[in-house]
Structures are given as structure tokens and as C-alpha cells.
Amino acid sequence: MAIIEIWYRLLGIFPFSWTHYVFMKNALLAILLVTPCFALLGTMVVNNRMAFFTDVLGHSALTGIAIGVLLGFHDPTLPMLAVAVLLAVAVNLLKNATKASADTILGVFFAFIIALGIVILSRQGGFVKYTGYLIGDILAVSPRQIAWFFLIGMVVLVYWYSAGNAMLLTSVNTSLARSRMVNTFLIETSFTILLALVVIISIRLVGILIINSLLVLPAAASRNFARNVHTYTLWAVIISIFSGIAGLIASYYWGTASGATIVLFAAGCYGISALLARWRKQ
């Protein structure tokens, strides 16, 4: 925890009112750790057209919470993780085993998983208790959770370093990747499991409703002008971190929900990048 003390003191130097609050300092650190992860994962989500999949993954948190309540868990993180990982593996297996389009399979899962979560949670009118999960609360993040974000950030970085090329090749053509000795099933499954982990661990920060936009928007914005994988990744990370910091600070002054404000900044970046790309073409 010594590191977090240094972080608190470092931020205390700044003459802004928001840097005096511990909850803001924690939130900022969490954002600096989580947004680059989201940007990296997002680049591959957009390349693989998995935006719908990650949306389903985010919403599966509802079912995870519901199952946690049924089984008497105090902290629903574990059941949420279990449901999301199971869902990720099941969708991947089905995608490989059936000829139905991934869109249809996901549509079926989406309907089932949300309905199941809502049915369990709404028993005796109790759904209101869980609405906090829908929009998230970045300001309630604890140093313990920050330690988790740090750990998962390291995992994403190591994974990206060792499997980046294999993922890229798999996203372009699976048969070609296999001919280059890439175990495409392992790559696809491990990537979806990693996505499930990151989405579920961060769900309390930004909430079920908008977590998907944090994955998709920075990569989509970067894609408007990037001409190679390096600039694509770099700009996605820059846009993600920028939106995170700007959104958090703006939400402090505006008194708005931080997660949603961050998403608005990311959407703004997307708009600007789309205009820039259009302007460059002309």
C-alpha cells in the first residue's frame, strides 16, 4: 500500500479541488490502469466484429449477480466471473460447432441471459437494489480493487505481448493462421476468457449499460485514421486514457455519473476522428 500513499501525495501537489479527495485519487488511478487494458482489448474486439459479444458479456453480469444472490454470496464477483467465462467458452464452442451465424447465436444468449438475471433479481420486487450495477460507481473504488486492476493489467500486457501476432493472424484468416501453426481455438478461447475477466472486474466502475462502449469507442475512433496496427493500438490507448481522465474530472465538476461522462468523451473522440478522416480523404 506504500505505492498508493506515494500516489496520494503526488496528486496532492496539484492545486485543483478534486485532487484533495481520496475517492477521486483512487478513481483516477483505477482509470489509468483500466483504460489502456480496455483500449488494447477493444482493438481486437473491433477487428473481430465482436462488439455484440462484449455487450452480451457485460449484461451477463446481471445473471452472475442473480446466481450469487440465490447461492448466498456476499460479494457477487465470483459468480459474475463464472457466468461470464462460461458464456465466453460456450459461445466460442457453438460458433465453431454450428453453421448458424454468430449474430444469431449471440441474440439467443443475450435474450436468455438477461431474462434469467431479471427474473431472479426481480422476485418480490427486489430489482431496485441492484440498479447500481447498471451505471456503476467509479468513485467507490477501493485500494484493494485497484490492486486487482493492476494485476489484470499485467496479465493483459503479457498476453498481448505473447499472443498479439497470433490474434492478428487469426482475425484475418483462421485457416491461414492454422497453417502457420497457430492454435486458433486456444487463441480465440483465451481471448474471450480474458475479455470476460476484464469486463466483469471493471463492471462496478462503469456499469453494465455502458461498459461495452468503453471497449469499442477508442478502437473505433483510432480505426478512422490508423494505417497500421501500431498506430491503431497507440491511438486507441491514447484516446481511451484521455477520455477516462477528462470524463472523470468533468463528472466531478458537473456532478454527473463518471462512467457515462467518460463514454461521452470517447464518443466525442470518435466524432472528431470520423470528421478528420473525411477531411483527409477530400
Binding site: L168, L169, S222, N228, Y232
Partner: protein
């Protein structure tokens, strides 16, 4: 005529592939030596692409596929594969350099590409004279350009077996003629086995050692001239083939055809 080394080959024995109750390939026997270019032709749904994907190890099968390298049986031969198309959006931010290096290098391309790696990609692309495309996004390439980039990837490092899936699709007349020259060059100057699946049977016939007519199983097999006279083939591909197949010397016919352009 064919410079087979006898020590390396791909041997397919009694191959059967089923998707549920549907038998896609049945009793397929095929023997391809290195230095030999074999074209597999057949109607849509004949199982041509399935055959390639089975050789790649993607599809479970009954029967045997044996690779022999330098006289030794090999479980994992080096296979170069040129797919028919890519799962790609036009605007994908993946450059030709990224694509090439992600296949041939261990350095993660998202971290950036240094001069040494750039040179490595350039050398590989120069095999098919496409080094000028290094910085282009792969979604922007024409059919012929993409095909040559894919060939450059498949040939780096030189494989023992090269599989080409419908290389003529999406390629214009000029690209096709360039592709025929590439196949000819592969046959004359490289000691690798090439299996190509194609619809362009008349164009390719002059440049391959053997034609195989596949429709679930091997219907006809042999020298292109013999196979092109096969009645099954004429039935499958229509009467337009009849005139061409009656020409005594296919290579001369192909020469005339090129001369017309």
C-alpha cells in the same frame, strides 16, 4: 518431365469427410510428389475447399493423410496456404508489413516495426515483386496484389507443401496471366508440392503436371490433356470446354490465347 524426388510427398488414402450425415468427400486417393503442381477442379460443392482444409488439419476425417519429408514420415510438414479470401473489413488498419510480420516473425507488430523487421518483410514480398505494397492496408489491395502478398507469406520460409484455394477468383485478366507465370515458375524452380483448387481449369491446364477432377471422390485424374477430354468433366463444365479440349496441343492453344491480348 516432372522432377519428383520420390522422397517427399503427400499421400492421401481412402479419405472420407462427413459433416453430420452429409458425406462431403468419399474414397479420395491422391498422391502428390514434391516438384509437382496438381490442380484440383470440380463443380461447386464438390469438396475442393474441404479437401484443402482437411489437409491443413482443420477438419476431422477417416482414412489417412501421410506426409513424407526426405524419406521420413512427418506429422507436421511446413505447409504454405493461400486462402480464397480474408475475413476483413476494407478499413482494417492492418498494413501489408503487419500482415507479413505477424505470420513470419515473433516480434509483436502492435509494438511497432523497426528497420530490420521492415527489411525482412520487404525481402519476403520481393519474391513476388510486391515489396512496393509494404505500407498499404491489406483491405486496399486489388485481388491480384492480395494474392501475391498471400503467396509471399505462404512461401516464407519455403514450405514443403503449398495449398492454393481458388487463386483465380477475384483476380483480373492481367493478374491471372501473372498468376499462371508464378505457377510455372514454382513448378520449374522450386522443389515443393503444390495443390491448387481452381475453376480456371482451361487457363491453368498448361501450367500444371496433373489435373484432378473431384466430385466428392476423384472422378478423373491424369495429364491435363487426358482429363480435359473426360466426358464427366465436359458434362460438369459445359459444352464450351468441348472445343478447347479437342485441340491437340493445349499449350499451343494457351499461347494463341495469350497472343490475342
Amino acid at each position: 518431365m516432372t522432377k519428383t524426388c520420390e522422397h517427399c510427398c503427400t499421400k492421401i488414402d481412402n479419405l472420407k469427410v462427413r459433416f453430420g450425415n452429409n458425406t462431403v468427400l468419399d474414397r479420395v486417393n491422391l498422391h502428390v510428389n514434391c516438384g509437382e503442381v496438381v490442380a484440383v477442379v470440380g463443380p461447386n460443392g464438390a469438396g475442393k475447399t474441404t479437401l484443402l482444409r482437411t489437409i491443413l488439419g482443420e477438419i476431422p476425417y477417416e482414412g489417412q493423410i501421410v506426409f513424407r519429408i526426405s524419406g521420413q514420415e512427418s506429422k507436421k510438414p511446413k505447409v504454405g496456404y493461400v486462402p480464397q479470401k480474408l475475413q476483413l473489413d476494407l478499413g482494417s488498419p492492418i498494413s501489408v508489413t503487419d500482415f507479413m510480420l505477424s505470420a513470419i516473425s515473433r516480434h509483436p507488430v502492435w509494438l511497432g516495426v523497426n528497420k530490420e523487421l521492415q527489411q525482412k518483410a520487404e525481402n519476403a514480398l520481393s519474391l513476388f515483386s510486391v515489396e512496393h505494397l509494404l505500407k498499404r492496408r491489406i483491405g486496399e489491395l486489388s485481388g491480384g496484389e492480395l494474392q501475391r502478398v498471400l503467396l509471399a507469406i505462404a512461401m516464407t520460409p519455403e514450405p514443403e507443401l503449398l495449398l492454393l484455394d481458388e487463386p483465380a477468383s477475384g483476380v483480373d485478366a492481367k493478374g491471372l496471366s501473372l498468376f499462371h507465370q508464378i505457377v510455372d515458375n514454382l513448378r520449374k524452380n522450386h522443389d515443393i508440392a503444390v495443390i491448387l483448387v481452381t475453376h480456371d481449369l482451361v487457363g491453368i491446364a498448361s501450367y500444371v503436371d496433373r489435373l484432378i477432377l473431384l466430385n466428392r471422390s476423384v472422378i478423373a485424374e491424369g495429364h491435363p490433356e487426358q482429363v480435359l477430354l473426360n466426358e464427366e468433366l465436359i458434362k460438369t463444365f459445359g459444352p464450351s470446354l468441348w472445343n478447347i479440349s479437342r485441340l491437340p496441343n493445349l499449350r499451343a492453344a494457351e499461347g494463341d490465347k495469350n497472343g490475342d491480348h
